[in-house]
Symmetry: D2
Subunit: 220 residues, 4 copies
Amino acid sequence: MPLFDRLKSDCSADWDAYVRHAFVEQVGAGTLPEAAFRTYLVQDYLFLIQFARAYALAVFKGRTLSEMRSAHAGVKAILDVEMDLHVAFCGGWNLSEAEMEATSEARATTAYTRFVIDAGLRGDLLDLHVALSPCVIGYAEIARRLASETRALDADNPYRAWVAEYAGDAYGEVAAAAVDKLDVLGAELVTEARYPRLKALFAQACRLEADFWQMGLDGA
Amino acid sequence: MPLFDRLKSDCSADWDAYVRHAFVEQVGAGTLPEAAFRTYLVQDYLFLIQFARAYALAVFKGRTLSEMRSAHAGVKAILDVEMDLHVAFCGGWNLSEAEMEATSEARATTAYTRFVIDAGLRGDLLDLHVALSPCVIGYAEIARRLASETRALDADNPYRAWVAEYAGDAYGEVAAAAVDKLDVLGAELVTEARYPRLKALFAQACRLEADFWQMGLDGA
Amino acid sequence: MPLFDRLKSDCSADWDAYVRHAFVEQVGAGTLPEAAFRTYLVQDYLFLIQFARAYALAVFKGRTLSEMRSAHAGVKAILDVEMDLHVAFCGGWNLSEAEMEATSEARATTAYTRFVIDAGLRGDLLDLHVALSPCVIGYAEIARRLASETRALDADNPYRAWVAEYAGDAYGEVAAAAVDKLDVLGAELVTEARYPRLKALFAQACRLEADFWQMGLDGA
Amino acid sequence: MPLFDRLKSDCSADWDAYVRHAFVEQVGAGTLPEAAFRTYLVQDYLFLIQFARAYALAVFKGRTLSEMRSAHAGVKAILDVEMDLHVAFCGGWNLSEAEMEATSEARATTAYTRFVIDAGLRGDLLDLHVALSPCVIGYAEIARRLASETRALDADNPYRAWVAEYAGDAYGEVAAAAVDKLDVLGAELVTEARYPRLKALFAQACRLEADFWQMGLDGA
């Protein structure tokens, strides 16, 4: 079984707790308190900065020019595109970039981002990608499910733009490339003796992502 | 003003929230629920492993043989002495090493430890020591205050051994050496333009330490 | 005095030995043996890959979004532009990318590149930039001097395209930005107590750059 | 085949060029110029400092407490024992510690040590151990061969103490433990797809070690 499917299937309880978290369901139903979403948006801004650092680490750890370039596409996507989109999106919620910059990281933000970075430094490129994967890949799965199962895209859902963004084809391709990268590295580097550690890493990353949603909810 | 005093004074609200956290006060009064203390003990075991990694990073980042040796004393203290003491101490609370190893890190554990490690890699040796300092130095201040102000060392306080350990001369010397190291590095490396970042790092480390106490309380 | 000028002036012997190395003078005079230049070109290809990793490390170590973006411009310049230019340029010398990739790093290549990377990991962003600076800034100084003092740009100099590239305005701006970055970081972070280590780092980087030229000469 | 044997056998040309380098043969025959040996001794002092950093990195990268402790034994061996032995030994050659500290690293020293450190940060614990292994394990093989095949231990060989040290049982155990560690990590982590990179890493480390001997010879 390709690595990502295997991880998701072996950690299904942690995966489901993340992708079906109450925050997510309330986004889909349009019932999430606005304060929760705003808390999330601000922390997600701080999160993206750390994720750009994690992708820069993937460039640093790349073993070939082609691996470096593929990780670099991730840095570029965040620093050149996503940050600006995020700032524009937040502007629609009356959150200025200056305000977001001046906010302290919530502990859930610190915990997940630094866990990912440390996983990359302690281990190899595969460890780094496993730790990154719940975020990159999970957002696409969450948004596509909401778009198909719920009234998430209805005109009266205040969060429809967020769902549409992550359910869209552009983000879908980013997530598919991340699955692919993981599967390729998995085929090259996973032994049965190594697998249990990767599983534990993936499960912990899922739990830290679920905490991130919870931090949003707690902000309301 | 020497660096540590300056940081503590400029971040006094965060420092006080950490060293006077309810968990700490209840330890001093002997009223902390046992389940809270046991939660803390197990996570502190996992915490120490990561702190040994942080001190190993300080060896790696040492600029002179003497700096490497001084950081190495920290690794040795944890791996050769404190871990065994901690395991013995936990044995008295019927917590086995196997049980502690098999426990997942709480998010507060992940957040503080990985924040420290990342601060060290992102910055220099001083950044690493600033991020480490609330833990190393704070424990001595907490325990000495409890020992002098409260009935913490009374025979009926179930936590008296913990207080006595960190209020003792041996640990006091460890903490004094950490203050010293920080002050020496501060005198060498701090400019007024750099100071605000060090203050922010110290304040965030204090908050993450307070979260660690809170995680213990929440375990009850 | 701004940091770069101070370093260059305090390490003038090492700087001069680098920027006036026999390899450089023979490039300017058009008398360098072709085998020496080809050896250099192949190793410079391998060198650039490591330099992209060093700039990725600068993104990772960036303390603000703006610092991360500025380091990211360096990664982009290398991975998206310079590598392709270099490959095209080498094509003109009948060196294929496959051939360059299959070549082992010369020790001078390994020494300078890994020294830079380690300086960045052991120290902070300023240490990393100091270690990078002889390369980035020196190439512009070398090429501009050759262009003005020698017959380097004459039609019969086989190396005129190389000189023109690094003496040109585009590269001149890259080098000026690097001087600027160093001066800004210097104003923020340099204390007199710290300066001697930065000087030693800069001097060693100059010597390792001179070795890189020598490696080219030895290839003939 | 266990990993170390496989690497040594697949890189036999590079391994032999290292363990049978002219420097080594002249040590065994007692014909090495004293200036060459003194050059080597001074650089080996600087080398050991970097190797202590590499072992500290192995502590940092350890995945279990037991792995951290085993790497820590390496840091302790260097910082608490070998450095002092080395200084004492060098004293016998009228080289003071102050003199050695004041010497700049030769490029061969910089190249091998930083290559090892970078291999560890770019990859995982196995990459780090593969890069370290020619040094740790090779010295034992070299000294034992010299002790058995040549007149290396004769009273009139000025280098007999060096040979005796590395041919002795104490060092033999260090080397055997390093082989073991490599074989255990290899059994856990090596796939056929990964092996070629490990082989290339090992071969490059052997070449950089041979350069270290050559640097000694060139010092005469």
